[in-house]
Symmetry: C2
Subunit: 246 residues, 2 copies
Amino acid sequence: MIRLHKQGEIVQKLCEKCSLHILCMPVMLKERELTDLGAIIRQSRRLKKGEYLFRAGEPFTAIFAVRTGFFKTIVNSQDGRDQVTGFFMSGELLGLDGICNNNHGCDAVALEDSEVCELPFNNMEDAGSLLPSLQIHFYRLMSQEILRTQELMLMLGNMRAEERLAGFLVNLSHRLSFRGFAANDFILRMSREEIGSYLGLKLETVSRTLSKFQQEGWIKVEHKHIQLLQPWMLQEMVMHCQKAVG
Amino acid sequence: MIRLHKQGEIVQKLCEKCSLHILCMPVMLKERELTDLGAIIRQSRRLKKGEYLFRAGEPFTAIFAVRTGFFKTIVNSQDGRDQVTGFFMSGELLGLDGICNNNHGCDAVALEDSEVCELPFNNMEDAGSLLPSLQIHFYRLMSQEILRTQELMLMLGNMRAEERLAGFLVNLSHRLSFRGFAANDFILRMSREEIGSYLGLKLETVSRTLSKFQQEGWIKVEHKHIQLLQPWMLQEMVMHCQKAVG
DNA sequence: CGATTTTTTGATTGGTATCAAACATGGTGG
DNA sequence: CCACCATGTTTGATACCAATCAAAAAATCG
């Protein structure tokens, strides 16, 4: 938990749902450990829309937790084609794929003015040996990222355009509501093209599919403002998709 | 390194390239640490072809390193469709996605008679605090798994059937050669359908594409026996694919 | 050897990409 | 404040790749 912030209460609320909560809330820890942990989280960093938090290939020194704002990550293939591999909102972690080779495996770009907490990885290592529970917590976070990419693989490998987009909207809705935002009324921070890249579709297909969902009465689309009118229909589509269409 | 094995030398050779090498080779560690580490790796376990090492949902207690043989992992989607998410050969790690929720996120099935080393995760936690370098090594392994799935996502999201299969063969070739096997002459341990599931293709497409590669003279296919005659052509196809086809 | 499973190959269908053009949006500078 | 341009979005027509349906051939297993 970052201290000395003007809007202390708001920050605390954000932090409650953060993956790094345990690192920031020394209250739960013993007195001795508290002092040791003081230096783990470094002061937050602000980024303007479009700014890069890090780029693929840059030396890896820290992991980041989104405090406010929205990010995307992009992997660059050898031949210039690149793909969005994730969208990250407050409380979510960026940069875990950099640990492996000591340099970042993807670009991270702010999709709106944002703020992140920086966790230098060296401190992390030290803290891990001091606090076994922290080490395990961190294993969990990394494992969760593996689960996330597995789910995405399932979408990319098995699902049709409509199912992928439905899955995307439902997932976004869940994550927003978990963080206390409206589940069925939100602003898309990313372009149609970025959604397409993430889902392995072309931007025209994304646009067409959103229009179709609107015609069906399942959602309301006003540019980037999305309302889920019948979210259960989207959920349905992700679950047994071949029936819903065939 | 498992001791007291009949074919000591062969085992040692296999272990040299194993991800868990560092856990098994106490030679590199100080005397005191050696004793502590004695109990980390548990005796290996044998599985017959078709046997499950673990199933999705089962309580997670250990991570496994393939010692000999070949495995696939499968994620089950809610509606019954499932997808192969990886193939694992000797030295590679299975079960990392189970840490997150304390139960396994996928099935792991032996594709031939196999043997694994079992690493109880509790021991792992203890060992991590004793040996910081070990903890970091383990972070690296998990990060590597994230990188692997990212690469696969790129294939599933961006590539055409030919490119995916070329990428698959090249990847297999690299991993085999890293472990001292022939790079351009190997036996596929999995069926066409399993390859298809992994690559987001139907088995017919896999079969057709292999036939096409053979007609081009790039590979030789004899059932499960594959020879790469012009591996650079496959590599080429993965790198700048649109040119090679358009 | 026969039964079952896997693989190959062909014909057709269908979903998404591609190409193209109109339209809306948001930011910039006059 | 508005005109303007660059960018992003929608929608339509067409093309193409891979899925599907189908059937024969080959391999595996008991």
